[in-house]
């Protein structure tokens, strides 16, 4: 199994957020999790990425034959987990190019691969950026600093394509995007999809799933997955809302 979440219960500040959650993802699959606000979707994304504010009460997560809880945030990232943030944070003065260059090399180091030199990296970055319709000038700027909402999301996808993760988690990537930006972002995701990597797409609305076709759709309510199935579930939610699952 590529990613296996078993009986996961998580709390934050005395509030139980995830309750006996189960989810299995195989290589090459695209999974979507839909759910109303406050159902625990973003908590799941952050627990997978290793954010430290949460208390794991029960359960286990295996990722590529590792017990995920044995790895810290950066080790998970280096193992190939990528989280596209809902609200990417600004880091003034930290230039995008060296930032991503260090990121890719820390991953390569862990994988005992040779580090990529400045010149080859600059080439790689340029070509990936132009694939995503990102202006080269943007690569001279500081991480997320002064970016519009759409630019931030597009830049998340650029990082994803550079780091080429095994498991990409997209946390509400569609929020705040107009239809043109949504198209660019989802095109980027579709280009990255191979039979060897997997996607976990967290969203509120069905719209995103018109552009990225999931293999499985899960409905998350109140900290658990209450229903799983194919794309037809998304259509059901679009029509009737989450009401009937609660």
């Amino acid at each position: 199994m590529f990613l296996e979440i078993k009986d996961l219960s998580v709390k934050i500040e005395n509030k139980n957020i995830l309750k006996s959650l189960n989810l299995n993802i195989n290589k090459g699959e695209v999974h979507a999790i839909m759910g109303p606000n406050g159902s625990g979707k973003s908590t799941l994304a952050n627990v997978l990425a290793g954010k430290e504010d949460y208390e794991i009460l029960n359960g286990r997560i295996n990722f590529k034959d590792n017990n995920l809880f044995d790895l810290n945030i950066e080790e998970r990232a280096q193992e190939g987990m990528f989280l596209a943030f809902q609200y990417p944070v600004e880091i003034p003065g930290v230039n995008i190019t060296p930032f991503l260059h260090s990121a890719i090399n820390s991953k390569r180091k862990r994988m005992s691969e040779e580090e990529i030199d400045n010149l080859s990296f600059a080439k790689l970055l340029k070509s990936k950026a132009s694939d995503l319709g990102i202006n080269i000038d943007m690569l001279k700027r500081s991480v997320n600093t002064g970016f519009s909402g759409g630019e931030k999301k597009r830049y998340e996808i650029l990082q994803m394509s550079i780091l080429n993760p095994d498991l990409a988690i997209l946390d509400e990537t569609d929020s705040g995007l107009d239809i043109d930006a949504l198209k660019i972002v989802t095109d980027g995701v579709n280009k990255l999809k191979t039979k060897d990597n997997s996607f976990l797409i967290i969203t509120h609305y069905q719209k995103l799933l018109d552009y990225i076709k999931p293999d499985y759709v899960h409905v998350m309510v109140n900290g658990s997955i209450v229903k799983s199935g194919g794309y037809e579930i998304a259509a059901e939610i679009e029509k009737d809302g989450f009401q009937k699952f609660q």
């Binding site: 990425a49 290793g50 430290e52 880091i91 003065g93 990121a103």
Partner: protein, 483 residues
């Protein structure tokens, strides 16, 4: 701040202060305390002419009537001036050694450990170094090569002997001995430091650098540096400093004077890494420094860049007097304080001439229980038509027990002056760290990246050879912070 951030910041403390070792060497000192005999001793040791001793004694009589300036945001016990040695030299240094074969191998070893080899062939390519150990200059490299261009680069002691006319004309011309108590003190007891003269139209082909080391216990270091750039000349100068770890506080009171004549430019960079004291605030250097540059001629330029990471107390305001029309003054500063360090630093830009311009970029980073103050004064005198100043001061707080303060003064007597001022204070935040780590960077890398990003505008002003070192130093200075 969560526990992991704390752990990372604490783990920096294993790095600690790398330069804290002591060199066991016989030294020669006068009795402790400050009086006319001490001054006569120093002057005699340095084999100085009569006029120099008189100059010192005059400064001393001024000092006796003065009180320390108290306006800074610093707290420390009263300095007992009678409990300090004012001179310390390794034995056998009555005369500066002619070459390295005359230098005690222990000293050469000391500098190797500090990463400053004294053999010219091993020295950083393109950097000439004057090395000051306690009160004496140990060696000056590349002197011969510079002499061919007419450049004088030697210790101030040597300049007093060999270039009395320049010394008489310029010493104390920018910082008068009676300016304040630390300048009077320095003028009375200064021991060594560097002297630079760049002749007309000469662009100095290499970085000039002085490396100061305090070694002896209970000893004050009173460095005096004087740099004169004659018409149309250019020089870039860098100073570095370290001291051993000791439980007692030590006093360092330097005076640095720069003079740029018409069309001349001086770029002065400092990487200050004196011993900052331990995690509990014990020991460390009291760094009371007066640095002032005079843009004497038209179109002259003086640029100060400082990276201040050391010292228990830093009191330092590298300033520019913009006298010549169209002259330019710049001040770029990074000040990092950690544990119980206190820094009160900034600049003074005095616009006298027409069309004079000044620019101030200050970045303060406070960690632990430290206090970091930016203090600046920009003044425009009556004749400073169309003068301009741009000031930007940013503070970054790491943890919640430290303080950042900004105290800007602006005084304009000319209506055509243009003044811009920007200031910001921010905290390093967990979201930024989480974001960097999610991309695969370690916690340590993330902190250092964020802080270096914050300082970038200043670090890029340093000469190439030192920019990388400075970045590393910034990372090391983040050690041992308690959030």
């Amino acid at each position: 701040m969560n526990s992991e951030t704390l752990n990372t910041l604490n783990s920096y403390s294993k790095n600690k202060y790398k330069y804290g070792f002591v060199t066991e060497i016989d030294d020669e000192k006068p009795k402790k305390g400050l009086n006319e005999d001490t001054i006569k001793f120093i002057s005699l040791k340095k084999n100085e002419p009569e006029w120099m001793l008189d100059w010192r004694l005059k400064a001393y009589s001024k000092w006796k009537k003065m009180k320390e300036p108290k306006w800074a945001n610093l707290s420390f016990p009263e300095i007992d001036y009678q409990d300090i040695y004012y001179y310390s030299a390794p034995k056998g240094f009555e005369k500066k050694p002619k070459d390295l074969s005359e230098v005690d191998p222990k000293l050469i070893e000391t500098y190797n450990k500090l990463g400053i080899p004294l053999e010219e062939q091993k020295v950083l390519a393109g950097v000439a170094v004057d090395v000051v150990f306690d009160s004496v200059s140990v060696a000056t490299t590349y002197k011969g090569e510079l002499e061919k261009l007419g450049i004088i680069f030697c210790s101030i002691g040597e300049a007093i002997q060999k270039h009395p006319d320049l010394i008489k004309k310029y010493l104390g011309s920018v910082i008068p001995p009676g300016d304040h108590s630390f300048s009077a003190l320095n003028s009375a007891v200064f021991t060594d430091g560097s002297f630079v003269y760049i002749p007309e139209s000469v662009k100095c082909p290499m970085e000039l650098s002085t490396y100061f080391r305090i070694n002896a216990e209970n000893t004050g270091q009173f460095e005096r540096t004087l740099i004169i750039a004659d018409k149309g000349s250019y020089v870039s100068y860098l100073e570095g400093c370290t001291a051993p770890k000791r439980d007692d506080n030590q006093l360092h009171a330097a005076n640095v004077e720069l003079i740029a004549l018409e069309d001349a430019e001086i770029k002065y960079s400092t990487v200050q890494n004196w011993y900052p004291g331990d995690e509990d605030g014990k020991g460390g250097i009291y760094n009371f420094v007066t640095k002032r540059g005079l843009c004497a001629g038209k179109n002259s330029k003086i640029s100060w860049t400082q990276v201040e990471t050391g010292s228990a107390i830093t009191w330092k305001y590298p300033s520019c007097i913009l006298k010549g029309d169209n002259s330019i003054g710049e001040f770029y500063s990074v000040a990092i304080t950690n544990n119980f360090q206190q820094a009160d630093t900034g600049t003074k830009m005095t616009h006298i001439g027409k069309n004079t311009k000044s620019k101030i970029i200050s970045k303060g980073i406070s960690l632990g229980k430290s206090q970091n103050t930016y203090r600046g004064e920009v003044s425009f005198l009556r004749k400073a038509d169309k003068a301009r100043n741009y000031t930007q001061c940013d503070s970054l707080l790491v943890g919640n027990q430290c303080g950042a303060h900004t105290v800007p003064y602006i005084d304009s007597k000319n209506n055509s002056a243009v003044i811009e001022h920007e200031a910001s204070t921010s905290k390093i935040n967990e979201d930024q760290l989480y974001y960097c780590r999610q991309r695969g960077l370690s916690h340590e890398e993330a902190v250092s990246l964020i802080v270096n990003g914050f300082c970038k505008q200043v670090l890029q002003e340093l000469p190439m050879e030192f920019a990388v070192e400075a970045q590393k130093l910034v990372s090391i200075s983040l050690e041992g912070s308690v959030g």
